[in-house]
Symmetry: C2
Subunit: 477 residues, 2 copies
């Protein structure tokens, strides 16, 4: 048995700052009191440890308190992605067979029309009648359920247990260290594991979370340069904007700022080199919904020597490449450890998440001769052209290193001769002839990898966690 994280943290360090949002700060004792009250209110609506509850809301304290209240009640939370279309939300609500749908008042319009909604204000208007709250949690208990981003096939509801979250946070601390002064900037969605895991770490580590409703590069630059925050999670597109802000203002990160956990796919090397110049340590990570955040992370001490790698597994985790026992040979990445989901809910509940304890990620990568993981690409994005394997990320990396290109996405299109050929979609910083871009690629890539067409677009299709959705690129043609 493990302690209720919220009660234990409030017992151990009641006066430490727990959460800051738009200038207001709550300490762990206040967090406990508010979340307990919210739990009593939810209990009075019938929610208990046998309930499954869908939750949708903006990244604001009200959502955090509702999440913590659900943890007190030990119900299973399905965290809905507020960037989804109504049809997609309807699928999840239906598949998860939830008993309740809790919605931020402002987000009710996002839900399918027939949804039976309990708004956050309905919860908060309930009378507060204390009820018994368990002080202990079991490691097998499901805390959260998140649907995988769905870049392939139907979304699956992934169970994330108390044990998964705890193992993930503990393994992470052995990698990045911990100090009482740590403050985590959370500008990634709480409905994704990247944001949700920041809340978990806060409870286990006793550190403050500075929560942003929306990512705001100017504020992030300020928090990073003043040392107001010491840690941050982000995806590549966010880093690019922060780097721009620092570069334009000719300022550097505070020495107090420790590192950025960089997830959601491989980062262009160009970004990493620019980050170093402005004093930002970037820890490339490899993680997913099924592993409750990071499986591997590149330790700070290896940031330069192994640029582009996602590092080594965190202490309790294992990684291997399917069917491969030699370095530098690509194959499917397999993952094992206490952070790996025990399985799915809904229509995939009978599908086993692992084989012999190993999660088959569908991602392609290799280990180098020192055991560092390099993630080459998502299997579903693989372009096969004339028998040659082409990985879009490799082409995107080259494009994003072009001085006039801000963002790039690459996918395959059908081709009579070669089967498939790559094409590129770019967001530009500055007017540039396409021939110039093609020429740049010719310089840096094998000929068969050079995009057969360049499309200049306003923005790239991204999912709720800002990951590039390569499948949707074709729709831009």
């Amino acid at each position: 048995m493990y302690p209720n994280w919220i009660l234990q943290r409030a017992y151990l360090t009641p006066k430490r700052s727990a959460l800051t949002f738009e200038g207001e700060t709550w300490n762990f004792d206040q967090i406990k009191i508010i979340s307990l009250n919210r739990a009593y209110q939810l209990a009075s609506l019938g929610i208990n440890q046998n309930s499954r509850v869908a939750i949708i809301g903006r990244s604001r304290p009200e959502l955090v308190f509702i999440i913590y209240a659900c943890m007190h009640l030990k119900c299973e939370m399905v965290l809905l992605n507020r960037k989804l279309a109504k049809d997609e939300l309807a699928y999840q609500i239906d598949d998860a067979e939830v008993n309740y749908v809790l919605s931020d008042d402002e987000d009710q319009y996002l839900l399918p029309d027939e949804t039976n909604i309990i708004s956050f204000s309905t919860v908060m208007e309930r009378e507060i009648t204390p009820t018994s709250i368990d002080k202990e949690w079991s490691i097998e208990q499901t805390t959260s359920i998140m649907y995988t981003s769905g870049t392939t096939g139907f979304p699956k509801g992934v169970r994330q247990t108390v044990g998964n979250h705890q193992a993930s946070a503990l393994a992470s601390v052995l990698n990045i260290g911990l100090s009482e002064e740590d403050v985590w900037l959370c500008a990634v969605p709480l409905f994704h594991i990247s944001g949700f895991s920041i809340l978990i770490r806060s409870l286990l580590y006793g550190n403050e979370v500075k929560l942003y409703e929306k990512f705001d590069p100017a504020s992030a630059v300020e928090d990073i340069t003043t040392g107001r925050v010491t840690l941050m999670s982000l995806v590549a597109v966010m880093l690019e904007r922060i780097l721009n802000g620092l570069e334009e203002n000719k300022i550097k990160a505070s020495p107090k700022f420790k590192t950025i956990l960089a997830g959601g796919g491989p980062f262009p090397k160009d970004y990493l080199i620019r980050a170093q110049k402005v004093g930002i340590s970037v820890s490339q990570t490899y993680g997913m919904t099924e592993t409750s955040s990071q499986t591997a992370t590149l330790a700070n001490e290896d940031a330069i020597r192994k640029l582009g790698s996602a590092g080594k597994p965190l202490f309790f985790n294992q990684i291997k490449i399917a069917g491969v026992d030699k370095p530098f040979v690509e194959g499917e990445i397999l993952v094992r450890g206490p952070h790996v989901t025990p399985g799915y809910i809904g229509q995939f509940s009978s599908k086993s998440s692992t084989v012999d304890g190993w999660l088959h990620t569908g991602d392609i990568g290799y280990l180098d001769d020192e055991g560092y993981l390099y993630v080459v690409d998502r299997r579903s994005d693989l372009i096969i052209s004339g028998g040659e394997n082409i990985y879009p990320a490799e082409i995107e990396n080259v494009l994003m290193a072009h001085p006039n290109i801000r963002e790039a996405g690459v996918c395959g299109v059908e081709d009579e001769t070669w089967g498939e050929v790559p094409v590129a979609f770019v967001v530009i910083k500055k007017e540039t002839p396409k021939s110039d871009i093609i020429g740049y690629c010719m310089e840096h890539l094998a000929k068969y990898k050079v995009p057969k067409e360049i499309y200049i677009v306003e923005k790239l299709p991204r999912n709720g966690s800002n990951k590039l959705m390569r499948r949707k690129l074709k729709e831009l043609i």
Copy 2:
């Protein structure tokens, strides 16, 4: 399943310093290679995961490598206290029914004559024939067995599992934090949990251990003032010597030095105040063999406000006072958590270590109104005089605050009128009339607590971990 700590740590951070002893340093990769070789040699002698092996040795690298080799082989290690008498060692070797006794070449004379000894050099002279080493460990597996210090009754062999050690190290890091620069000074015995847990932390955290064969106040003072080490575990008598060294030389601890984990019973407040003056943060802890190190520790932020407390439980642990649900009421301290031993070996193997998961420590303490633990005394040391409870530590604290007293121990002696009365044994810094000491006690203690006699002695009886053995005080009369 969890990874073999030694192999995983060497995989993750091979080049980081792991161990330093008398000017020589080994990194984690070197540690791995040496310990594997030693494991192959032990395997060739027949040691495997079905073996139980007693080990005796000085705190030197040879011992560390043998310990890590035994971990590789998954045998159960009985760590023998080299300060024990032959009869006491014979009892443990016999009770544990060990298959092998491994001895530091220099320590063979300590063992009972009939012991079938394998010396460290015998091991090291074996041919190295690689054999299969498990890369995974189960959480239930017993890593080490330590006999409790035996201040009450017959010593019991306490199982400490992979899960116990791991939970202990992880809970500790959530309290004291972690940085790549951490270096742990180990001057406490490796055969006690205080020293052994430093090795475990090193493997899990990836930090360096600076190992001392014997506690040497001058070297410790140098390591602390230069910042060569950042953390240390010790008992009160060691702190006093370090404080003397700092005070005499009018020097302070380096700002890099984080904290001292202070165990082995309550520390005199006077020491803590002096420590603050020389810039040493002291984290009072409460732990024991049965809990694989700390159960509670006073967080740095509370060091001043709660002087004398052992703090709050570490994150995964729980503490309660038997039969008491109010603050400030004394009773037996009960402990629960993943760090608590699953049980004993030998003649006590059928004795349950816990009741409903709670370990009954036999120690007396209370929780204050904020949930801070105050350890009042070992139950076995309780003096009952005229119906009043007297706790020796309280009297010792007063005596040690006397400017001319270095160490003090108190026990009860029989008395016709009162049943028992306390008497004191003191090691003095400077000639002092006994009447002066009595007078000082009269000033600071209730009359019934004032020692009826003061014995000035050369040194106090202490066990291998330098804990005062109050039961042996009477023999000094």
